[in-house]
Amino acid sequence: MRSMLTRVLALLLKEFLALFKDPKSRSVLIGPPLIQLIVFGYAATFELKNIPYAIYNEDRGAISRRLEAAFAGAPSFHRVATISAAGEITPLIDSREALLVIHIGQRFSDRLLSSDYAAVQSPLQVLIDGRNSNTAMLAMNYVRSIVDDFNREWMTERGLPSLPARLESRAWFNPNLESRWFFVPGIIGMLALIATILVTAMTVAREREEGTFDQLLVTPLRPGEILLGKALPGFLIGLAQGTVILLITVLWFGVPLRGSVPALYCGLALFLLSGVGAGLLISSLAVTQQQALLGAFLFMVPAIILSGFATPIANMPPFVQAVTYLDPLRYFMTILRKVFLEGAGFDVLASQLWPMAAIGAATLALAGWLFRHRMN
């Protein structure tokens, strides 16, 4: 038992030395995660700013001017053109110069001023670039709220009865609906997974390529011990990286951490376990570092997309949703958001913890079996 501990510790020490003495792998572990954190923290956002739009006002009346002014005054909108003919719309949208065109019809003011406005309502047309449906929807919502405000103001000024139902929304968990609060906690899971998978997937392949793996196999180290020695570095590096990003998330990006930290770490540990299992599975199959790298990306890209990191799982077709149950990142993503925004603890998270434990156990067992049977 003691000699086993000595051997595994020696292997662990060697792995860390090899990892940190190599300037390439050292920089891979430090540089890219920070860059990704910055990219996602600052660049990945659902909010739209400076929506380029054009006005096609056929009305020219004072009221239509007021509506134009409402858009001009909105901080999210930026007028790029004023059009005088319908033919100008297509080139503007085609060239993406404008995301949307607001078309105020000829009789807009007339109709508003007519006594029976409720019956004839003034049409206001919005032509929008639907190529990116997500952006279009968001922009539409902004337009809608500006028009709503305009309507309400108009009605109060005239002493008209207000609309029967008025929508008043309060966002729970994220009062200002900051997309950063949604994204940044997810990055902890994503980056920890990348580090863990890369470290574990490459370590055996590198030794195979350099011919040192045979040398390792002829030592009294048993396959299980080698597996352990190869699994621990990835696990520990994932844990360290997760912690650093966690601190940045809370201290720099100011995302509130409301739930139980032990529960979060329990989730991280189980999640890394399944990551290590997948990494070892890749490395037991890959003969060269290139294959290992390809294998790692083949696993990571679907794992991230299916995790609900950026798009809700509920929107996926049923069979894809079924596949997401195999993705450990799916469960950890839930844990992260629940702990950060909902303030969840162990009681709520148990349903997310055991699937990761199961995935980890399965991948590790499979990797161990492959290790023993793929010695040739």
Partner: protein, 577 residues
């Protein structure tokens, strides 16, 4: 004499250095020589001598730091394109496309070289006839043996007949039969087609087949000239010492320590000795240990001259003490192999072999690429499970207790596979712990390794930056760290210079004398002579098993009264085919 003609290649004080890691390596240092047309010139030297650098400079692929190189009277650096047009260059790993057939490879190179379509049919027929590859034109290059690949590579280089042919170590990894055939092709090219050949090799016995040799060592020119004349300088200084009643390894160690002896190696039944002076030293003849021995003069070989030259430059090698207690050779077998089979799909890489290795024995596994020797070796070390049969190492059945058996074995492979980006000390530390050494024992064994292999001064160097000889020492130190009973050596001396090879075998001898069993694979026929017993394998079966002398004696014929190990090997393979 070809030297009457203007030389086809002239190198003048050629120098080239590379930066590797933290060191600046002088790959070539003021090397000057000329190559006569219509001959085979051999660039001879161990790995790291500068052979490949010289080849690449000749082909205009590198720019020299200093000096010039002229080919066909043109500057190879400035007129590289013109020179390359009449040059054929086959690098160490020739770029054959493994997924294409032999014919498709030929077509591809003919296209690249711009050989007119009309001339191709004749040229192909000629080349395929010459290389004997005609029956295999439709085989994928990836499915060919090492020897066939080299011949195909040569054919591709020759699709457009060059005036000067550059071959960089064409015989590495090639079995002795194909090696002999390759040399016949080269002789034919020079005498028949008047081509000039510049060929590099680390095999010193190949020097004797060249008309002219250039001897390189660590980037310096040691000597050049006619190989026969060079070896002739040692006439009267080479001997075979035989003492039938004595252990030849002890005899070799005794002889090696006597002043005036430059070289002493086990060769079959006898010990081959090179003396510093002409005539057998009287001091030697009067030694008490030499009482019942007999010294007969033997013709010098090219390797002798190389060793003679190197030993003048080299510092005294570490000479290990002769161990006193000599356990009997014929103890119980420590390795037992019975009806061993290894299948890969339908292919039987090892097809029912059986042999025993006794304690303290040096046992050799010899065979061409694909003969099954590496597969056998890997099964013995527990790196590969057997398909069927019995395998027992140090009293442990590898099927059940491989890990326990591994505690008793040391392993050293030809790649000297230590961790290149760890320091020497970190490597030693790791392997000591991996073998379960701890506490005072660990400290003591690491100190022993640093002392015994003179690794102390490279303590903090990265293993990957070590000179080749020291890489080999480190590999051996790691393999011996835990004092194993059995040492497995996989082509342990490929590429190292003859002095380092001797030093290495010196250690192996000492180990064997102290009771360590050594199992070695090699393709150096010369090294087979150092073994107590060996097996020769082909197509997964054992062709012959026995002492080197017996195996050689079996190949004796009226045409060949004194066959070498290579002759015996070729005869066995040809008889089996």
């Amino acid at each position: 004499m070809p030297s009457d003609l203007a030389p086809i290649l002239v190198a003048d004080r050629l120098a080239k250095a590379f930066v590797a890691g933290q060191q600046r390596i002088r790959a070539l240092d003021a090397v000057s020589f000329a190559v006569a047309p219509g001959s085979i010139t051999g660039l001879i030297g161990p790995d790291g001598a500068g052979k490949t650098t010289l080849m690449r400079l000749t082909a205009g692929l590198l720019v020299p730091d200093a000096g010039t190189i002229h080919v066909f009277g043109l500057d190879a650096t400035r007129d590289a394109l013109t020179v390359q047009a009449s040059l054929g260059y086959m690098p160490q790993r020739f770029g054959l496309y493994e997924d294409l057939t032999a014919q498709e490879n030929l077509d591809l190179y003919a296209d690249l070289q711009g050989v007119p379509k009309g001339e191709r049919a004749n040229r192909y027929a000629e080349l395929m006839h010459m290389t004997g590859l005609q029956p295999f034109v439709n085989r994928l290059a990836g499915r060919m043996s090492g020897g066939m690949k080299q011949k195909l590579g040569l054919a591709c280089t020759l699709v457009r007949p060059p005036r000067l042919l550059l071959l960089d170590e064409p015989t590495v990894g090639v079995d002795p039969v194909s090696r002999r055939e390759l040399w016949e092709i080269l002789d034919h090219l020079v005498t028949g087609a008047g081509m000039s050949v510049l060929l590099s090799t680390a095999y010193l016995d190949e020097a004797e087949r060249c008309q002219d040799v250039v001897l390189l060592h660590e980037g310096r020119l040691l000597d050049r000239g006619d190989p026969g004349e060079m070896s002739a300088r040692l006439t009267g200084r080479t001997w075979a010492v035989a003492a039938p009643e004595r252990c030849r390894r002890r005899l070799q160690m005794t002889l090696a320590r006597i002043p005036g002896v430059i070289d002493a190696i086990v060769h079959g039944d006898a010990v081959r000795v090179v003396t510093a002076m002409e005539g057998f030293p009287p001091a030697l003849a009067t030694l008490p240990e030499m009482a019942d021995s007999e010294a007969t003069p033997v013709p010098p070989r090219f390797e002798d001259i190389f060793v003679d030259m190197l030993s003048r430059h080299a510092t005294a090698a570490h000479v290990p003490a002769i161990p006193h207690d000599t356990p009997a050779h014929d103890g119980a077998p420590v390795i037992r192999v019975a009806d061993l089979v290894r299948k890969f799909g339908d292919f039987r890489a090892v097809d029912g072999i059986s042999f025993d290795v006794r304690r303290g024995e040096i046992f050799g596994l010899l065979g061409a690429n694909g003969a099954g020797k590496s597969t056998t070796f890997r099964m013995l070390c527990g790196l590969l499970p057997a398909s069927s049969g019995h395998l027992e190492v140090a009293g442990h059945d590898l099927r059940h207790s491989a890990a326990t058996a591994r505690e008793r074995i040391g392993y050293m492979s030809q790649k000297f596979s230590q961790y290149a980006n760890l320091s020497v000390r970190q490597n030693l530390d790791f392997f000591a712990s991996a073998y379960g050494l701890a506490g005072a024992e660990r400290t003591q064994r690491i100190a022993w390794a640093e002392e015994e292999f003179d690794l102390g001064r490279y303590h903090d160097h990265l293993a990957g930056d070590l000179p080749l000889g020291y890489k080999q020492r480190l590999a051996m130190a790691c393999a011996l760290m835990h004092g194993p009973d059995i040492l497995f050596l996989d082509e342990p001396t490929s590429g190292v210079d003859p002095l380092a090879r001797r030093e290495f075998w010196q250690r192996i001898n000492t180990l064997a004398l102290s009771g360590v069993t050594v199992l070695v694979t090699t393709h150096f026929m010369e090294e087979a002579e150092y073994c107590d017993r060996l097996v020769i394998m082909a197509s997964g079966r054992i062709l012959s098993l026995g002492e080197p002398a017996t195996i050689k004696a079996a190949a004796r014929s009226p045409e060949q009264p004194h066959p070498s190990m290579e002759d015996a090997f070729i005869k066995l393979v040809e008889d089996a085919a």
